[in-house]
């Protein structure tokens, strides 16, 4: 049984400097481990998808989520974090 808790961080919006640095700083400060990062441009939007292991995260999911969306507001981007099960449920039988 794999007890790893994975979360998906997505950033949608217009590109600017330092997005990845700041998002990963928050994750680092909360002891989450980044497993994968990818960036694409879809529908004329900058998209970043980051997958992190939050099993050993030192804060609650709620706090992590609040910190990330606060950063999003500051940068004029939509940043959110979701448990990965929702995506796995939809696309894996």
């Amino acid at each position: 049984m794999n007890d790893m808790k994975r979360a998906v961080v997505t950033v949608l919006g217009i590109d600017r400097k330092g997005i990845i640095a700041r998002v990963s700083a928050i994750l680092y400060e909360n002891d989450a481990n980044i497993l994968d990062i990818s960036q694409t441009v879809l529908d004329e939007y900058f998209n970043m998808v980051l997958i992190a292991d939050i099993s050993s995260a030192t804060c609650s999911f709620e706090k992590l989520s609040a910190e990330l969306s606060a950063l999003g507001e500051k940068l004029g981007l939509q940043i959110r974090i979701q448990r990965s099960e929702i995506f796995e449920a939809m696309y894996q039988v």
């Binding site: 879809l42 448990r83 990965s84 449920a89």
Partner: protein, 450 residues
């Protein structure tokens, strides 16, 4: 692991196509609260509900935040109130206790001010039914339903006659709110015991102590998926709907399992219904129009709806371990912007809606009719709809609102998820003598089916 494009496509469904979980509904049995002392019954009911559902809203909000999918409503359904109110004289007191419990737990609705009278009415059933208008007028969160027929029992026409009058009275008592009481009152044939959707939710006598069920939604996602197969044959349409329904239902299943685990309450069912809201892009009518109809309600609508309803079930069934409730496509007029437009254009009539209910989930839902529609005409509408359910072995329901003081050409605004609706005409010819007969319409034959 899922791919980036799958993740982005899910976000698009949530942000732009209004994908949501419509409700987490906790069903609570109140059979253990029975008492012949009014105050004691009300206190036990209040205590039991507020204790059992104390974490429901918080857990719902936690799941919503962690999975990033909106959960629009948290609701409670209870044992049909007539089954526990036999020992008391005034069931309205119980209604008020239920409303207080809903307020305390923070849920959006509490359903189950109900009676099951398909074969006959007990004194307790009658008392409860007669109290419905007052109970709905005096409460904010309470929903009520009455089952007046079934495939096995036939139709209780005495109850049908009573319900016509009760619907009228419910409208009159809430005349200041355009008859809003009727929006919380459903008359069923073949009611299901595990429906998580309001206004018709109750926790049936065949259920356990407590269960959580989830109702999914997502007409916008289906519509958007169909946009990519324009002009393709129906085989492709059906496949596309199935695949989409599968994904939507998987979210429902995930949320239901998670809610069940966190609340430490057994998982009941996932209801696969496509439930529209008045928001643009969240319409079942738009799906039918996407299939090639100029306007919902025109010729071809019933066939389109039959395909949609069946494909939703086929896609959803494999995505969940237990499917139940009403499962299908809902066609509430005031809650679906496409249906509202179709009704305003005159393309969608009461008669066409009745035909549509033969092939989809539930029935004549959230339909505003003139305030001077007689109780007998409403009873006759209920009887017609119940007959469709009885003969076709399916759930049908009537939720009509005879809006006090309004006539054809007017519109009525209910607000929120209930939306707005044009007043639709009913037939001007009477059904009084038919309704006044009373008695029972016998259960139909189950062989020689044609």
């Amino acid at each position: 692991m899922v791919t980036t494009s799958e993740i982005l496509s899910t976000l698009k469904m949530i942000d732009r196509q209004k994908l949501d979980v419509r409700t987490i509904t906790m069903g609570i049995s109140l059979l253990g609260c029975v008492s012949d002392d009014e105050d004691r019954l009300c206190q036990k009911v209040y205590d039991h509900i507020t204790h059992t559902a104390r974490d429901l809203v918080r857990v719902g909000e936690d799941i919503e935040r962690e999975f990033g999918v909106p959960i629009v409503n948290k609701r409670i359904s209870i044992t049909p109130a007539a089954l526990i109110s036999g020992g008391i004289k005034n069931p309205v007191k119980l209604a008020l206790a239920l409303d207080r419990a809903a307020r305390e737990t923070g849920v959006n609705f509490i359903g189950g001010y109900s009676a099951l009278v398909q074969k006959g009415m007990t004194e307790a059933d009658k008392r409860l039914m007669l109290s419905i208008p007052e109970a709905l007028a005096a409460t904010d969160f309470l929903c009520s339903s009455v089952n007046i027929g079934s495939t096995r029992a036939g139709i209780d026409m005495d109850a049908v006659r009573m319900m016509g009058e009760i619907v009228k009275e419910a409208a009159d008592r809430t005349a200041d709110r355009d008859g809003l009481g009727c929006a919380k009152l459903v008359v069923f044939c073949n009611a299901v015991e595990d429906n998580p959707f309001m206004a018709g939710a109750f926790h049936g006598p065949g259920e356990g102590d407590c269960a959580v069920s989830v109702g999914v939604s997502g007409p916008g996602v289906v519509k958007s998926a169909l946009e990519s197969v324009r002009g393709e044959p129906f085989d492709t349409v059906a496949e596309t709907i199935k695949r989409t329904a599968f994904r939507i239902t998987r979210i429902g299943q995930l949320v239901a399992r998670e809610a069940s685990r966190r609340l430490n309450v057994p998982f009941g069912i996932v209801d696969l219904s496509l439930a529209p809201t008045p928001a643009v892009g969240d319409s079942v009518a738009a799906i039918l129009e996407e299939m090639g109809l100029e306007c919902c309600g025109t010729h071809g609508t019933t066939a389109a709806l039959a395909l949609l309803n069946d494909a939703v079930k086929k896609g959803g069934v494999m995505a969940s371990s237990h499917v139940g409730g009403l499962s299908g496509a809902f066609i509430p007029v005031s809650e679906d912007v496409g249906m509202i437009e179709a009704a305003e254009r005159g393309a969608l009539t009461l008669d066409k809606l009745e035909a549509m209910t033969c092939v989809c989930s539930v029935g004549l839902d959230m339909i505003a009719v003139p305030g001077d529609t007689s109780a007998e005409t409403i009873s006759a509408i209920i009887a017609d709809e119940a007959a469709i359910g009885m003969v076709n072995n399916k759930t049908t329901a009537v939720r009509v609102i005879p809006v006090p003081g309004k006539k054809v050409g007017d519109t009525v605004e209910f607000g929120g998820l209930l939306g707005h609706a044009p007043i639709m005409p009913v037939h001007p010819f009477g059904s009084e003598l038919f309704v006044r007969r009373g008695g029972r319409i016998p259960a139909p034959l189950h062989s020689l089916r044609n």
